[in-house]
Assembly symmetry: C2
Homo-oligomer: 369 residues x 2
Amino acid sequence: MKIEYKLIKNDNKARLGKLKTNYGEYDTPMFMPVGTRATVKSLSPDELYEVGSGIALANTYHLWLRPGEDTIKKAGGLHKFMNYKRPILTDSGGFQVFSLAKNKEKDITEEGVHFKSHLDGSNLLLTPEKSIEIQNKLDSDIAMSFDECPPYPVSYEYMKKSVERTLRWAKRGKDVHNNPNQALFGIVQGGEFTDLREYSCKETVKIDFDGYSIGGTSVGESKEVMYKMIDDGIRYLPVDKVRYLMGVGDPIDILEAVERGIDIFDCVLPTRIARHGQAFTRNGKINLNNARFKEDFTPVEEECDCYACRNFTKGYIRHLITTKETLGGRLLSIHNIRFLIKLTEEIREAIKDDIFLEYKEQFINKYSK
Amino acid sequence: MKIEYKLIKNDNKARLGKLKTNYGEYDTPMFMPVGTRATVKSLSPDELYEVGSGIALANTYHLWLRPGEDTIKKAGGLHKFMNYKRPILTDSGGFQVFSLAKNKEKDITEEGVHFKSHLDGSNLLLTPEKSIEIQNKLDSDIAMSFDECPPYPVSYEYMKKSVERTLRWAKRGKDVHNNPNQALFGIVQGGEFTDLREYSCKETVKIDFDGYSIGGTSVGESKEVMYKMIDDGIRYLPVDKVRYLMGVGDPIDILEAVERGIDIFDCVLPTRIARHGQAFTRNGKINLNNARFKEDFTPVEEECDCYACRNFTKGYIRHLITTKETLGGRLLSIHNIRFLIKLTEEIREAIKDDIFLEYKEQFINKYSK
């Protein structure tokens, strides 16, 4: 099986859905934690299960470089390699090529992208075929098409050419994709240009993928532009396929995107800010480096059900963060991922009860006050 | 209650015992993991319980500097601060003062040790009274006397003066100790000088502590000298008090020390080598950075019951170590601590069956081959 998405109900444009995978059924909207190098930084698979994680992400670019897709194939695929018994989505590597290439030097040709490894500066070429071949070997449950993700802003002319090339790349990737247990998603691009988003979306849908992603967000644009990018693409996506907004994990952005019809999200934010001592709370983010937490012996959030909040205080976690003890980032990662997953659980309840917009407003009022 | 040690039986000089504490009863010989800054690096308390940890260590010097003993007292003591529900032993801070003082500059006077903080170079003074006062506030179950731990080698004359001063410091510490739920241990010094070890031991026992430690080992001496240091002191210790060899965690050293009558051990070795990719196995240490493990998809040890060995392969852990992902050091820390604790479990069985020396020989033959 690949995957099956079933729309359960709408609340305005917000969608409650069910995703059937080779590794169980999961409800959407869903937040997916990011395991860049086949590990969600500092956490064990059991800790991910405990916070309610469904699909986890892994990065094709990083795993291609180390340990290499052939090594992971020999291990029996990504699931066995990292011992994660729930679904895994791999990105295409495109975003990393564009953001991590050494000196940002790259040469984008019709064939693919020539660039230098961020590790040793060696010359590398990633093509749509290569990206799919790597992902086939990684044996993730969902593979992503290789696309160009231009920065913001670029000219209309550049974006038009880029969108067309990305469509040709998407087609080439689909042609070589040959893992019968792996779904393949298409990616809508087009920047902030409404007509290009429409064009990219309609043409990507014509190629016919198992799910669709809104790409090209979180690359420097304002929130308003990002929300418009979603609106401009999503209206042309089929209702019976899952919709994925890449790289978004801010709680307010998740709510805004769900309102617009997005089903799944991923972001390094919860683990990255955790390592820097920041925690999500219902009243906004807090920074445990702040001296006012030194003798605060209450949990990060009294009402939170995560391992960190059930067992440790802000004062202790602050001590771990300020002394650079890794247990600190680990505990805050658990809390922050749980926070976003709990948010999606509440979002699903709200959609079920047709009160999503009220829920969203209440959440944002408290979070932003 | 302070603590109570009961000698169950001897097998030659090796001792099987039971330690009654405010946080439960534990069998000895026992290995104690080290939680320098109130955290056994990268591990949660639950992971420590799972590997069979009894007493855990914490470092007075580090906690004095950050977050400060008053903060930990306000948290309700170390147990509550770090949420460790088994016994805790705190060292005196002496070893860190001698090993970590900025530029190794220190001025040892009768009053105590003047030195500069390794964090900010500020002038600090640690005295026997101050060390005990800090440990009283930390509210550990076992406090250690403040001693001078000279490097190896020093002259006989220096060591003699040092031993006498350490005895005066031990007495001063005991005089101010006033935590009725905390045991206080004395420390035997004397370097490699047999008569000074005898003198230090007899005089320390006269002060009458709740347990005794053999100090001044692992400071640069050879294995043979270290074993002699144990022999020279231990013969004068009372049989009804627990005996602690500080800073020793090499499997062979543990066996040699148990043979000589030691009951408890601590060492940063299992967690430190874990962070560098090394794992204990029955056939000796292995280094997972070695390329031969890249595609080795078997556990670190097939027969090991730890979380790491039950769930992950050498190839995966190697990937984590070589890409500097903290889950790697965490998994190897779990394995290495479990390895030493399992070793002490087997040692206890062997003593029970009067086959300790055979067990020791078998273990060492396999480990050193």
